[in-house]
C-alpha cells in the first residue's frame, strides 16, 4: 500500500465529509494530484466514503478528464471539432506527435506529456485550439505546435504558453488567457451594462409569484436548446412539495460549435449570478450550483472571486440585498469532460457524484431533481435573460424578437466566414442576414444548433432564426462550397458515438451503425438500398432513444438525406439489375478469415481467462 496515496486520499475525502455526493470533487482532486485515479486509489476512496468500489470505478471510467492510468504531468488536449479539423487540426496533431515521438492517446516515456484528442472545447471561433492542462491555446499552427512542445520541454509550465492576453476579462489576473471574446454584435439583453443588484432589487420588491408572472409575461424560453418556457418551469418547481430546493445553472456548454456561454461567464458573470438569485427567490431555493464544464476550468478562480465579491457586497449569502429571510448562495461544481452531462438529468447525476447517466422521467427535475429535491435547471443565457426581464420589465423584453420567440439570442458563429464570434441578435433575424454579418455568404451549408440540430442548405437561408423555424441553442457553423457534407455528417456521428452514455440500446449501438453506413457511402461503396436503410435506422434511433442525445443524433444524417441528396446519390455504386453490386467478394473473404481467426481463438484458450 502506497502510504502517500493513502494519506492524501483520506485527506481529500475527509475534507468533504467522506460524502459520496461529492465524488466529482474527490476524484477530480485525486486525478490532479496523482495524474490518475489508480485502482488502489479507487479502493481507498470507496472505503473512505462507504460506497461500492465499482461505483467509484464507474465514475472514473465515465469522464474523459479522469483515468485509472496515470497521465503525463502536462496533458495536451487537441480540439477534435469539425471546425478545428477544417482549420488543420490533423496536421497539428501530426506536428505534436512528431515533436513528442508519440501517437495521439499516448504519454511520453518519461511520463511528462500526454497527447490526446478532445471534443469541442468552446473555442471554434479561434480554431484550431488545444487545452494544455487548464490553459487554452488558440489559433494553433504546425509551427506554433512545435514551439509549444519546445517550451513545455524546457519549462513544463503551460502558463508560459500564453504569449498575448485576450480581450476583456480574459486579461484579468485570475484568468490570464489568450482567449478572445470576439463579441461582434452587442445587444440590449446580454451585453448591456448592469449596476450591482439592480435586477435583484427589483425582483425582491415583488412577491415570488409576481416574479414568475413577469418571466411568463416576458415569454422567456430556455436558451439551452429545448426552449421550454422558463416561467412555467419556475412555477412548477415553486409549487412542488419540499422545503429544500435548488437552482442549477447549466454551464456545460458541450454542443460543438457553441461558445457563447464562455463569453457570458467571462464578461457578464454578475448578470448570471443575479439571474440565479432571482430564480432562487422565485422558487424558494437558498442554494445555487453553477456546473462548469472541465474545459472552462481556467475561468474558475475568476468566477470564485466574482461570487466572493458579491457575498461581501451583500448580493449573495444571508438576507440578500437586505431582504430579511432570503438567503441564497452559489457554489461551483466542476465537470470532468462529458457532453451528456449538459442534458439536465445527467447534469444532476453528475452533481450527485455518480456516472453522468440521464435519469428516467418522470419525475422531472422540477418535482425531484438534485438530491431528490425540486430543482430548476437553466442555461447560462436563460438566467441572464431572466435578470434583464426583472430589471427592464417584461413588456420591454417581450417586444424584442418575434412573436413566438421573445428577446435576443446569442449566436456562436464559426466556420467558413470572415468574422467568427458571438453575436447578440433579435429572434426572427433571417439566416441570410446573419451570414452577411459574419461574412459567410458563400455558404453551401449551415449547421444550425450543432450536431444535434440540422444541416440546412441555401433553400433555407431565408428562414428566420427562432424557436419555430431555425432553432438553435447558439451554435451556427458555416461550411463553404469546398466542404463535403458527408464528411461533416460522419464526423458528427463519431462525436455522438464517443459521447453517448451507453445506457440505452438505440443510441449506444445505432450511432455506430449509422456511422458505418455513412462511411461506406462516402467511400463510394454504398448502394441505393443503403439510403432506405439509413432512413429507417435514423427514425428508430430518434424514436426509441432514452434522452435527447439519441433523439437528435440522427439529425445531421436525416437532414442531409433530404437537403443534400445529391451528396449521397452521386457516390452510390451504379446498379445494373437487382444484384448487389456493393458486395465486395474480396472484402467478404478477408472478413471471413478474420472471423475464422477469431473463432479459433475462442477454442485455443488464448482468450483472457481470469
Amino acid at each position: 500500500m502506497d502510504e502517500t496515496l493513502k494519506k492524501a486520499v483520506e485527506e481529500i475525502c475527509q475534507a468533504r465529509g467522506n460524502d459520496a455526493g461529492a465524488m466529482m470533487d474527490i476524484v477530480r482532486q485525486v486525478q490532479a494530484r496523482f495524474r490518475g485515479v489508480s485502482e488502489e486509489a479507487i479502493d481507498l476512496i470507496a472505503a473512505q466514503c462507504h460506497v461500492p468500489r465499482v461505483d467509484v470505478a464507474g465514475v472514473v471510467s465515465f469522464y474523459a478528464f479522469l483515468s485509472t492510468a496515470s497521465k503525463g504531468q502536462v496533458v495536451i488536449r487537441l480540439c477534435d471539432d469539425v471546425i478545428d479539423r477544417m482549420y488543420g487540426a490533423v496536421a497539428i496533431a501530426e506536428a505534436f506527435s512528431h515533436e513528442l515521438g508519440i501517437e495521439m492517446g499516448q504519454t511520453t516515456p518519461d511520463g511528462k506529456i500526454t497527447l490526446e484528442w478532445a471534443p469541442c472545447m468552446g473555442l471554434s471561433d479561434q480554431a484550431p485550439a488545444a487545452l494544455v492542462n487548464d490553459v487554452p491555446v488558440t489559433h494553433l499552427s504546425t509551427d506554433k505546435a512545435r514551439h509549444l512542445i519546445q517550451s513545455l520541454r524546457r519549462y513544463m509550465d503551460p502558463s508560459r504558453l500564453v504569449e498575448r492576453l485576450g480581450d476583456g476579462n480574459n486579461a484579468h489576473e485570475l484568468v490570464g488567457a489568450m482567449v478572445m471574446n470576439n463579441v461582434r454584435k452587442v445587444g440590449p439583453v446580454i451585453f448591456a451594462p448592469l449596476g450591482p443588484g439592480e435586477a435583484m432589487k427589483k425582483a425582491l420588491a415583488m412577491s415570488p409569484a409576481e416574479v414568475i408572472r413577469d418571466v411568463k409575461t416576458a415569454r422567456l424560453r430556455g436558451r439551452g436548446g429545448a426552449g421550454f418556457p422558463t416561467g412555467i418551469k419556475w412555477e412548477f418547481t415553486r409549487a412542488a412539495a419540499g422545503s429544500k430546493k435548488y437552482v442549477l445553472c447549466n454551464a456545460d456548454e458541450g454542443e460543438p460549435g457553441t461558445f457563447k456561454d464562455r463569453v457570458i461567464l467571462t464578461e457578464q458573470p454578475d448578470l448570471l449570478a443575479e439571474g440565479m438569485a432571482i430564480a432562487g427567490y422565485a422558487i424558494g431555493a437558498d442554494e445555487g450550483i453553477l456546473y462548469l464544464r472541465a474545459e472552462y476550468a481556467y475561468l474558475r478562480r475568476f468566477l470564485e472571486q466574482v461570487l466572493q465579491r458579491r457575498r461581501e457586497a451583500g448580493l449573495l449569502g444571508k438576507d440578500v440585498c437586505g431582504k430579511k429571510g432570503f438567503n441564497f448562495d452559489i457554489r461551483i461544481q466542476m465537470g470532468a469532460g462529458a457532453y451528456i452531462c449538459g442534458e439536465e438529468t445527467s447534469l444532476i447525476s453528475s452533481c450527485e457524484g455518480t456516472r453522468g447517466d440521464p435519469k428516467n422521467r418522470p419525475p422531472f427535475p422540477a418535482q425531484k431533481g438534485y438530491r431528490g429535491c425540486p430543482t430548476v435547471v437553466n442555461n447560462v443565457e436563460t438566467f441572464c435573460c431572466a435578470a434583464r426581464v426583472l430589471e427592464k420589465g417584461a413588456g420591454w423584453f417581450a417586444q424584442l424578437g418575434s412573436p413566438g420567440s421573445a428577446g435576443t439570442k446569442l449566436l456562436s458563429i464559426s466556420g467558413d466566414c470572415l468574422r467568427p464570434g458571438v453575436y447578440e441578435v433579435e429572434f426572427g433575424i433571417k439566416l441570410t442576414e446573419v451570414l452577411r454579418m459574419a461574412g459567410g455568404q458563400e455558404a453551401q451549408a449551415v449547421v444550425v444548433g450543432g450536431p444535434s440540430g440540422q444541416i440546412v442548405s441555401a433553400a433555407d437561408f431565408e428562414r428566420p432564426i427562432c424557436y419555430d423555424h431555425l432553432a438553435t441553442g447558439g451554435s451556427l457553423m458555416i461550411f463553404g462550397p469546398q466542404r463535403d457534407v458527408l464528411e461533416i455528417v460522419e464526423h458528427f456521428l463519431d462525436f455522438f458515438i464517443e459521447e453517448s452514455c451507453g445506457y440505452c440500446t438505440p443510441c449506444r449501438v445505432g450511432n455506430v451503425l449509422m456511422k458505418e453506413r455513412v462511411a461506406r457511402i462516402r467511400s463510394g461503396k454504398g448502394e441505393l438500398a443503403d439510403l432506405g436503410y439509413l432512413e429507417r435506422l435514423g427514425q428508430t434511433i430518434k424514436t426509441a432513444s432514452r434522452c435527447g442525445l439519441g433523439q437528435t443524433s440522427p439529425n445531421p444524417m436525416l437532414s442531409t438525406l433530404r437537403k443534400f441528396r445529391s451528396a449521397y446519390d452521386s457516390r452510390l455504386v451504379q446498379q445494373a439489375g437487382p444484384f448487389q453490386s456493393a458486395f465486395d467478394i474480396q472484402a467478404a473473404l478477408a472478413q471471413a478469415k478474420e472471423v475464422q481467426g477469431r473463432a479459433s481463438v475462442l477454442f485455443s484458450g488464448e482468450r483472457h481467462h481470469r
Binding site: R53, C501, L513, T543, R610
Partner: protein
C-alpha cells in the same frame, strides 16, 4: 377497484391501473404483452433496452418506466412499433457476439426468444464483432461479456434483492461493460451461485458453471411457446427467471 382507478386504452382496449403502476404493469394485468428485455418483475424499472417502447398520445415512451395516467391513448402492437422493436433486438445481436447454436442459454434466452417472437431472421445490420473479456475467476459463476446486453438486471437484483453489490458498469457509450465489484475478477466479490443476480440475467452472460445442458434443448422454456405467451394467456405475471 377503488375510485382512484385509472382508465386508459392500449390499442383501443380499455385497461385499468392503480395509481403508481406503470403502463407495462397495467398491461400485464390486462393480459396484454408488451415486449421487454431489461424489465424484470420485482426489480426497479430501468428503461435501458427500449424494446418496450410504446406511443403514449403519439409520443414514444418506455412503458416499463412510464406511469399509467387517466385517459392516455397507448399504441403497442402496431407495425411501426414492431419494426422499431425488431431493429433494437437486431442491434443487440450485432453489438455482442451471439452464437446461439452452441450457447448453453439457447432456448432459455430472452434475447433469442424475442428475436423469434419479432420475426427476426438474420440481422439487417453488420456484426460489430467486439472483443470482450471473459471472467471465469469465480468457482461457480462466469461472466461471458460477449453475450451481455447491458440490461443491468444483475446489478439491480444484487443490490435490491441480494443486499450485495457484486457488479456495476464501467465506461460509457460503446465501451460500456459490466464489471465485478473488485479490481480482480468476480471471485474477489461475495457473489454466490444462489444469488438472485445470477438468475436475473436474461441471456447467457452471467451464468452458473457446470449446469449448461442440464435441461436438453427442445425442453427449454421458449422451445414451444413464444416469450410473452403466459402474460397473454392471462396467467399471473411470470418471473422470467423461473
Amino acid at each position: 377497484m377503488s375510485d382512484k382507478t385509472i382508465t386508459f386504452t392500449i390499442d383501443e382496449v380499455e385497461v385499468k391501473a392503480r395509481p403508481g403502476q406503470t403502463i407495462m404493469e397495467a398491461a400485464d394485468e390486462a393480459a396484454i404483452y408488451i415486449p421487454r428485455l431489461c424489465s424484470l418483475k420485482g426489480l426497479s424499472p430501468f428503461g435501458a433496452c427500449r424494446v418496450c417502447t410504446v406511443l403514449v398520445n403519439g409520443r414514444p415512451q418506455s412503458s416499463c418506466t412510464q406511469p399509467a395516467a387517466p385517459g392516455i391513448v397507448v399504441e403497442n402492437a402496431s407495425e411501426r412499433l414492431h419494426d422499431i422493436r425488431q431493429d433494437i433486438v437486431e442491434m443487440l445481436f450485432v453489438e455482442g457476439n451471439h452464437f446461439c447454436m452452441f450457447c448453453e442459454k439457447s432456448g432459455n434466452c430472452e434475447l433469442q426468444a424475442m428475436g423469434y417472437r419479432l420475426g427476426m431472421m438474420e440481422p439487417k445490420y453488420p456484426r460489430l464483432w467486439p472483443r470482450r473479456e471473459l471472467d471465469a475467476s469465480h468457482p461457480d459463476i462466469f461472466i461471458d461479456r460477449d453475450r451481455c446486453i447491458l440490461c443491468a438486471r444483475c446489478i439491480r437484483a444484487s443490490r435490491e434483492q441480494d443486499g450485495k453489490h457484486i457488479l456495476g458498469f464501467l465506461g460509457r457509450g460503446p465501451h460500456k461493460r459490466v464489471t465485478p465489484d473488485s479490481s480482480d475478477g468476480l471471485v474477489q466479490t461475495d457473489a454466490a451461485v444462489a444469488d438472485a443476480a445470477v438468475a436475473a440475467c436474461p441471456v447467457g452472460s452471467l451464468m452458473r458453471k457446470r449446469v449448461g445442458f442440464g435441461i436438453p434443448i427442445g425442453q427449454r422454456k421458449y422451445d414451444h411457446r413464444p416469450i410473452g405467451s403466459d402474460i397473454e394467456s392471462g396467467a399471473e405475471v411470470p418471473d422470467e427467471r423461473k
